[in-house]
């Protein structure tokens, strides 16, 4: 009963006028007029094509050498998996290639894996970021299954499938028989070195189990200096990816012959993966990537074509906007 009083009071009070309550806020009401739309399309085209050209030229300036070695660095037997898994076999493999164009320093050395699912669900989940940073959380390895603990229950540091499957091929580069220094410092993200991988934690019980995965770690070096591990543990979203192996701090001249001594240790043969060695320079756009440039050219071209078509349509088949004779109730006397 008292609530009724309230509501009746409310009803009788006159609402306060404001532009918001009356839905009369000043508003800009653009409509898609031919001039506006053609203008937008043309502008888009005019902006896109230069960007596309810039991106393409940047990508063109990148010098890149890709060498697939997984198929040649293995005896052509049927026992590829057996060969790679056997620790006793000699896996050294020597490859040579020439530099097509002058490569200015720094020259990046990548390894590329194809058909490797670093984004697989079982794989991405199997890591413990706490364990890598917090010395007290050494045993928080439940998320790392099945590579959380050794057979006798000791925690593995670093635990998990990702770390366990660490890439362990090595490359030795030489130019004209002189060794080319590959700088493996600062290849990981600085944030990883300072905030993700602790300098107080050392690898422990790593690759000690019956099942050996990938590379081993030097137990005397703290995690914050295990840069190969950090790079590897930045998992890739795509099944084809490149990871930084190191940097060459000298310029490479055109037509120089480069010899690479590869220790072909990593098993990609069980799942038909490919391994490639990539030597590349970088520009503002990153590595060699024509996609952005081409896409920009396509979009820019399309929008200019559309703009032209719309203009022609507008000229040859004009249709006045807002002509009321198109309204259905003006066409016929009755409502439809």
């Amino acid at each position: 009963m008292s609530s009724d009083d309230g509501s009746s009071k409310k009803v009788s009070r006159k609402p306060r006028y404001s532009r918001f309550t009356q839905q009369e806020l000043p508003a800009c009401k653009p409509i898609l007029t031919p001039a506006l739309v053609i203008g937008i399309l043309m502008c888009l085209g005019i902006i896109s094509i230069p960007i596309g050209l810039l991106a393409l030229s940047a990508s063109k300036n990148v010098v890149e050498v890709v060498d697939r070695y997984d198929d040649v660095c293995i005896p052509s037997t049927d026992q590829k998996v057996g060969f790679i898994k056997d620790p006793a076999t000699n896996k050294t493999c020597i490859r040579t290639f020439t530099i097509p164009k002058k490569m200015r320093k720094p020259v990046y050395v990548y390894y590329q894996l194809d058909n490797f699912y670093q984004n697989h669900r079982r794989y991405v989940k199997s890591r413990s970021d706490r364990q890598l940073w917090n010395p007290k959380a050494e045993s928080s390895t439940t998320v790392c299954d099945p590579e959380g603990q050794t057979g006798d229950g000791k925690p593995i540091v670093p635990c998990g499938l990702i770390a366990w499957s660490l890439f362990n091929d090595t490359y030795m580069l030489s130019k004209n028989d002189a060794a080319l220094q590959i700088n493996k410092k600062d290849i990981a993200w600085r944030s990883d070195r300072t905030h993700k991988f602790s300098s107080n934690i050392y690898p422990k019980n790593f690759q000690n189990g019956t099942l050996i995965g990938g590379g081993k770690l030097d137990e005397s070096i703290p995690l914050s200096q295990q840069e190969d591990l950090m790079v590897w543990m930045r998992t890739s979203a795509l099944p084809t990816f490149r990871k930084l192996y190191g940097k060459i701090e000298t310029d490479l001249e055109a037509n120089e012959k480069i010899t690479v001594t590869i220790q072909n240790n990593y098993n990609t043969y069980s799942f038909n993966g490919k391994k490639k060695l990539v030597i590349s320079t970088a520009t503002w756009i990153g590595g060699k990537n024509d996609f952005i440039g081409k896409m920009y050219m396509a979009v820019g071209g399309t929008s200019i074509v559309l703009g032209v078509i719309f203009s022609l349509l507008y000229v040859f088949k004009p249709r006045p906007l807002g002509d009321p004779s198109y309204l259905s109730w003006n066409k016929s006397p009755t409502l439809d």
């Binding site: 609530s3 006028y17 839905q23 898609l32 069980s270 799942f271 990153g286 952005i292 807002g322 003006n330």
Partner: protein
């Protein structure tokens, strides 16, 4: 079935009946959580989300942290629970205030002050003037020696006049002190919600009188929430307390109404759910196949050789969780927020405030604004809804002479004034009936002027008119009436009142002239109930003609009659009347039977014609709404000819050459059947020609038969005919008609003002009540209450239409953005070994749904596709809403396609531009999310018709907010996203990628939209174009955008609007200025101007 109340008995009854604690609360502190959760989880959507959230707790299958579902779910639940809790708390406070009010009651013979909640059945409660009645009381004593008191029942039924209540005859003359000790028993019905009836008996125990049983009626009660007025004190015994009072029982919980839009959204959600299941099954199978063919070869994944028994289910369940975002969790909250804002806009609208009374419009039901835009049928009451319900006595016919025919107003007719002053016997008698035969209470103010408080507007009109004709009702003192005629006082004692009921359609009083002691019965009522009751031999033809003539003018008619009574005839009758009045079962019918015994052999004195003016702007409103494609049915209790007349003047039917009125009548089944067939045939023919405006008229009797026996042909007629006039219909028939139209799948809106419209209002999809002179009963039962009928056009065309359009966009957009992110997840699963990895992290997923994509779109509730003026000028545009053109499976498919296209764009561009050495999971994910956010901002911008500052803020501010949030998250070292967003923002390729995504995503959408906009425009587009580019409207617009000068040359600025408006006769007037000006023109013109305007 019955309840026995022992008066003043402190020992009994306490335990049997509830105390007077009022509780409007839905919950208590203890049951709030379970009950509220139960209510929320009875919705399918919530069950679905709960299931998803529970599945996420299983870490084996969850792609992301469970927080991504639990967070929003808990947030949503918290929001709606706290809203409920807050409402309930306010109700509790109000209850508490009422419960703790101090009340005087009698305990052990002594008056004591207690709290209202401690009142027990049988307690005697004392009230002083202006006190609120705390529970339902049976009146025992008042300060008035005659045993009368006055109450205001506004809170109960909204009627603001004072009502007389009297103590039962048994208690008459009991001394105040004795009232403390009174004992007795009251036999009354169990608590019920009928506030018009209280059929009970009372027996007082000795020493108070004898063992006689006294009848009690509603007149002897004081009901909870009424106020005692003009009476020093009153006391009564509590008969119903707490939530069992009449008011408490009336307080029903209204069935929640579901709008057509909600139903459509539910349907689409169902379809999405099925689609989701299909996707999950396909991906689940693909995932398991991949696992067996490929996955086991991936040594670094270490698939166990033997999985657990549920192994096959794991991947499908993972995909179920990944795809669960396909159904947007935020849609319910977004829509609820939007809906409450629509309702607020209605409440706030100053253009829908009644300028006379200051009553503003109110949306009691917040959930159904969209339905207003989809109304197809309006069923309207006549009196008080279309008309002002301000009755004015205009003409009369007394013993064959017509008064007021020349001047149009009987009160200025010299002949009548002359006849009254000279004392013509017929006229005097006529005036006496006018003055006496009523329930009006004269109230004399301090200055000496008399005003009348009346329940019925007709009675007030009659009494006022008789006063102006020098027959003044001066005072009503209990049963004694003081009449002053030509300065000579007369006194009458009212012995019995034979009340008006809608079945009897007449009321009578038995009076005794105090000087002569003669007895009379004076009666007034509808012609068909009075004219047959004449004594044999009186010529009623003149009166019948008069009634007919008046009805033709749209006036309400009342026949006045009288008869002298013999003393013994009366004595015999009065005992029967008393007995009938004390029956507990079927009292109304028994009383009516007894009344009929006295109401016979009348002498007809004359016919009074009362005018009820049309409200301002009614014809215009109806014309506009009819143009908008809304069909009108008028349901009235009036005579057929009056109804037809009103219908014509209200523009329900065009006048003769164009309009055609077909009448269905007949008293028997056969007649009705034949009549119905004939009308149906004619309607079919004219409807196929579609040139004519056909309306059918049916009266209550024929309607009863038609609904009972010929439902099918009648339904067909109802669908074919755009207009119907139903006269002489009862409240339940009104509700039946609503039901009939609803069964044909039409959206119905019922509008009315009185208690007799309540059923129809509750039955209809949308009930609109007019808070008018007949009280607030209808307004209270309705979903929307407005002050005047003319506000209906604004309610429907402006608020309803905007609400529909906005919800249509909001809901489809919610699905679009969910699909967008879900498709990206699905695509990603194909490059992640179909293993169910989530590309996005928990934070992004959660914030994407509840923040980034929900905030900008929420401001689409401010979007206006067309200006209000344009809509009013072209009401036909409502058709797009009625037929649901903006939200249906095909528009939904459009949004689905767009989301698929955008997902492909984002995904393909992201994985190609962030390939090889840049393909770090966290970076790729953020690039994809940023792409979605940018795209959705442009999609909202493209779909927004009018940008206010809020939209700009929301759309572009949201982008800024996105980066701000991600920068914050990126600066937390422990988060998985540490430094990611900073790294990205430093890279030029990130920004280039964003531009590329937007350009690729929006370019085709823009081009398609433009092509359609220009070469296949919808009606809305056409009006937008002419509104924003045309000349005439811009010049007089209030806040129209500035015209694009560069484009003006392309557009013929003049004559754009001429053909649009040429259709309507009042076009020139209407385009001259805003609609209100028209209304004011209307109000100044004489009442029948609309009618005459139509004729010329």
């Amino acid at each position: 079935m019955k309840r026995y109340v022992y008066i003043n008995d402190d020992n009994l009854a306490k335990d049997i009946y509830c105390d007077n604690r009022i509780s409007n609360r839905k919950y208590t502190i203890l049951n709030f959580l379970p009950k509220n959760l139960w209510e929320q989880f009875s919705r399918f959507m919530n069950q679905y989300f709960l299931l998803i959230a529970c599945l996420q707790l299983w870490s084996l299958i969850t792609p992301v942290n469970p927080a991504s579902t639990w967070g929003p779910l808990i947030l949503i639940f918290a929001v709606s629970s706290s809203k409920e809790a807050w409402d309930d708390y306010n109700r509790y406070l109000l209850d508490k205030k009422a419960n703790e009010k101090e009340i005087w009651i009698v305990r052990q013979g002594i008056r004591k002050l207690i709290q209202a909640q401690d009142i027990c059945i049988g307690n005697i409660v004392w009230l002083r003037e202006n006190d609120e009645v705390p529970c339902d009381l049976l009146l025992l004593g008042t300060a008035d020696p005659q045993g009368f008191c006055y109450v205001e029942t506004a809170a109960l039924d909204g009627e603001t006049d004072l009502k007389t209540r009297s103590i039962p005859s048994a208690c008459m003359g009991i001394d105040v002190d004795l009232l403390h000790k009174i004992k007795g028993v009251i036999e009354c019905p169990s608590p019920n919600k009928d506030i018009r009836r209280f059929d009970a008996n009372m027996r007082l125990f000795p020493p108070f009188l004898d063992n006689d049983i006294f009848p009690l009626t509603i007149k002897n009660t004081l009901l909870q929430s009424c106020y005692l007025r003009n009476t020093e004190w009153a006391c009564g015994v509590a008969v119903y307390t707490g939530n069992q009072t009449k008011l408490g029982m009336c307080r029903g919980i209204a069935e929640p109404k579901l709008t057509a839009v909600d139903a459509m959204i539910d349907k689409l959600t169902g379809a999405v759910f099925v689609f989701q299941i299909v996707v999950v099954i396909v991906l689940g199978i693909a995932g398991n196949v991949f696992k067996d063919k490929q996955g086991r070869k991936l040594w670094y994944v270490q698939y166990p050789k033997e999985g657990p028994w549920y192994e096959l289910l794991v991947i499908p369940l993972r995909f179920e969780l990944l795809c669960s975002i396909m159904i947007p969790i935020s849609i319910k909250v977004s829509l609820d927020l939007a809906k409450s804002l629509y309702a607020k806009f209605i409440d706030w609208d100053v253009e829908m405030v009644d300028p006379e009374t200051g009553i503003r419009s109110n949306a009691a039901n917040q959930a159904i604004s969209e339905d207003l835009g989809q109304v197809e049928y309006i069923l309207t009451d006549k009196t008080g809804t279309l008309t002002e319900n301000k009755m004015i006595f205009k003409r009369c016919c007394i013993s064959g002479r017509f008064y007021g025919n020349e001047s149009g107003d009987a009160l200025t007719d010299a002949q009548l004034l002359n006849a009254a002053s000279t004392g013509s016997a017929d006229v005097i008698l006529f005036l006496k009936v006018m003055a006496i035969c009523n329930t009006v209470i004269p109230v004399r103010s301090k200055s000496g002027t008399i005003s009348y408080k009346a329940l019925s507007q007709d009675e007030e009109a009659l009494v006022c008119a008789s006063a102006r004709l020098r027959m003044v009702l001066e005072n009503k003192n209990g049963n004694i009436l003081d009449i002053n005629f030509n300065a000579s006082p007369m006194q009458y004692e009212v012995l019995d009142t034979l009340e008006f009921t809608s079945d009897r359609k007449r009321m009578s009083v038995v009076v005794r002239e105090c000087q002569s002691g003669e007895l009379f019965i004076l009666s007034k009522g509808a012609d068909e109930t009075i004219l047959p009751l004449t004594y044999s031999g009186q010529q009623v033809r003149t009166f019948a003609e008069a009634v007919e003539q008046y009805a033709q003018m749209g006036l309400r008619t009342l026949c006045l009659a009288w008869r002298k009574l013999e003393e013994d005839e009366y004595q015999e009758w009065t005992s029967m009347f008393k007995e009938a009045n004390s029956t507990l079962v079927d009292r109304e019918r028994r009383v009516a039977e007894v009344c009929q015994r006295l109401e016979r052999d009348f002498e007809i004195l004359g016919v009074a014609a009362i005018e009820d003016r049309l409200q301002e702007g009614v014809p215009e409103t109806i014309e506009i709404l009819r143009k908008a494609g809304i069909n009108f049915w008028m349901l009235t209790g009036d005579k057929m000819s009056t109804a037809i007349q009103i219908a014509l003047s209200c523009n329900f039917v065009s006048p003769e050459p164009k309009g055609q009125i077909l009448i269905i009548d007949g008293k028997t089944e056969d007649e009705v059947c034949r009549s119905l067939d004939r009308v149906l045939l004619t309607t079919r023919i004219t409807e196929s020609e579609s040139k004519q405006d056909v309306a059918f008229v049916v009266d209550g009797w024929a309607l009863e038969i038609a609904l009972k026996h010929y439902r099918k042909p009648f339904t067909e007629l109802a669908i074919l005919s755009r207009t119907a006039i139903c006269c002489r219909v009862t409240p339940s028939q009104k509700a039946q008609l609503v039901e009939l139209l609803k069964l044909c799948d039409y959206r119905t809106l019922a509008i009315g003002d009185g208690g007799n419209d309540v059923r129809m209002i509750q039955q209809a999809d949308i009930g609109v009540g007019i808070s008018g002179r007949e009280g607030l009963q209808a307004a209270r039962a309705a979903d929307y209450s407005i002050g005047k009928f003319r506000f209906l056009k604004r309610l429907i065309l402006v608020h309803g239409r905007y609400s529909y359009n906005r919800t249509a966009f909001l809901s489809q957009y919610s699905f679009y953005k969910s699909f967008l992110i879900c498709f990206i997840q699905i695509f990603f699963s194909f490059i992640s070994g179909v293993s169910g990895t989530s590309l996005f992290n928990t934070v992004s997923l959660m914030a994407y749904n509840v923040f980034y994509t929900s905030v900008p779109v929420l401001f689409s509730v401010l979007d206006k596709d067309l200006s209000e003026r344009t809509v009013m000028q072209h009401p036909q545009i409502l058709f797009d809403c009625q037929s649901g053109r903006l939200l249906n499976p095909s528009t939904f498919a459009g949004w689905f396609g767009r989301s698929l296209f955008h997902a492909i764009v984002v995904f393909v561009i992201t994985i190609h531009s962030y390939a090889f050495e840049k393909s770090v999971m966290e970076e790729v994910a953020m690039v994809a999310v940023s792409g979605c956010i940018w795209l959705q901002a442009f999609v909202v911008a493209l779909e927004t018709n009018s940008f206010t500052i809020f939209q700009h803020l929301a759309i572009w501010g949201n982008l800024v907010g996105f980066y701000a949030i991600n920068w914050i998250v990126s600066s937390i070292p422990t988060s998985g996203m540490y430094t990611i967003m900073f790294r990205l923002c430093e890279q030029p390729s990130y920004w280039i990628t964003m531009i590329l995504i937007v350009a690729t995503g929006m370019c085709p959408v823009l081009a398609l939209k433009y092509l359609r906009y220009t070469y296949r425009p919808s009606r809305i587009n056409l009006l937008q174009q002419s509104e924003r580019l045309g000349g005439p409207i811009l010049s007089s617009g209030i806040i129209e955008p500035k015209s694009r000068s560069s484009l003006d040359k392309d557009i013929p600025t003049d004559s754009v609007y001429e053909p649009l408006l040429s259709e309507s006769p009042s076009a020139t007037r209407r385009s001259a200025g805003p609609t209100q000006r028209l209304d004011s023109v209307q109000s100044q013109s004489p009442p029948h101007s609309t009618h005459t305007r139509k004729d010329n």
